[in-house]
Symmetry: C2
Subunit: 258 residues, 2 copies
Amino acid sequence: KSSLEKLARDIAKRRIRVIDLTQLLKPSTPVIQLPPNFAPSAPFSISEISRYDERGPAWYWNNIACGEHTGTHFDAPIHWISGRHLTDGATHTIDPQRFIAPACVLDFSAECARDERFLVTPKHIKAWEKKHGEIPAGSWVLMRSDWSKRSDPAAFLNMKEDGPHVPGPGPDAVRYLIEERDVHGWGVEAVGTDAGQAFAFEPPFPAHALMHGANKFGLASLCNLDQLPATGAVLITAPLKIENGSGSPLRVLALVDD
Amino acid sequence: KSSLEKLARDIAKRRIRVIDLTQLLKPSTPVIQLPPNFAPSAPFSISEISRYDERGPAWYWNNIACGEHTGTHFDAPIHWISGRHLTDGATHTIDPQRFIAPACVLDFSAECARDERFLVTPKHIKAWEKKHGEIPAGSWVLMRSDWSKRSDPAAFLNMKEDGPHVPGPGPDAVRYLIEERDVHGWGVEAVGTDAGQAFAFEPPFPAHALMHGANKFGLASLCNLDQLPATGAVLITAPLKIENGSGSPLRVLALVDD
Ligand SMILES: Nc1ccccc1C(=O)C(=O)O
Ligand SMILES: Nc1ccccc1C(=O)C(=O)O
């Protein structure tokens, strides 16, 4: 007998808690800023169709628009050139079984408070593993930075003369997670999965280039990672079924034992 | 000990199957058609930002736009005037615990094949309950009509001189599910949760007016209901966290024992 019947009961009775890892989606939601020689993404916008008025007396609804990588969002493998040929790498071709997976949460909030350009290295990951055990294959690895607590969009993007000052993974950390741990994907609180200075890394944007090339996923603009245990949470990360979508805004839920 | 650890393992080992109840989201996705005196909803649209080209050499991404009630979508209680004052009735205020709930699937595909304007009555529901047991409080009730197999958008909307010929629930069925069974919500394969002729019901649009007035949810444009058991599936239905959203397109997943 499977765990399914018990799951519904445990959720209803709140023996399992559902934690919302999603930022509020609104026009001021920060969107990644690229150098001006690249095409920009649309911010989130919303416009009322009717609100219990002459346009629709009994109903309220809106039209919405945004880039696929806006707010709390999912990066599919075809988002990056390294994943372009994967036949199961778009929002509509990924096996839905892969939208539910366990998570390890690595707390680098103290390091990020000290250094806005903090980079995760294999040494940091091995230190976490010494304490919490080896990262199991097929796990999300979530980087807690407390970056989501920066409620001012300018402080969240933290753009400087030399690009964004935002923490993230170094290339060797990304390689370690893929090659030694065969993780499910990489998730962060920042606007994108890569560090602010990752354009200058070798390879550039390793959390995109290496993870997606290995058919793994990304999650960005997460929040409430401080409410998760280091191990034991299960994540639900189901993007919109956009035809040939490179990703999408989504609701990210974490299930945790209470 | 909760069912959570076992859940992740059961999904990875495919002892639990994840069934995608979501229609493909693309420009031809059918959108509800209202009489011309009411404001219409935008269809889904998508426009390329870059595709591994001069606009973004290593990345592919799109901007998207649509109405909140486009494709497979979630109806929040504030969608209807009867739910407008609920403080937990918008996409961003609903308790996330309520995004996971069990489902009962009532198969009316034969009836709908015979009569495109088939209406569910309490008698039909009681006949189902005689066979499968009482609908448990807190369950989604899903109406299988096989309507999602109409791949031609015109046949799916089935608009006629006197409005859409599309099956759905009669007012007494909706009342029965709310008052006698305290269900979680009502889900259908058709473009909207109400029958095509529901504008003329008393009350008009009962699946909207009564369900949302009782702080219950709707799901429309579902597919693959023919792959679900009558009882025992668990649904994941997490809308985008739109500020004051009346609903949203979403990915609907069903977990079933294999
Ligand atoms: N780093 C990027 C470079 C180009 C396009 C998008 C990104 C993202 O981070 C994203 O996926 O949000
Ligand atoms: N019946 C309606 C009337 C007006 C607006 C929307 C609807 C829907 O069915 C919907 O929620 O898709």
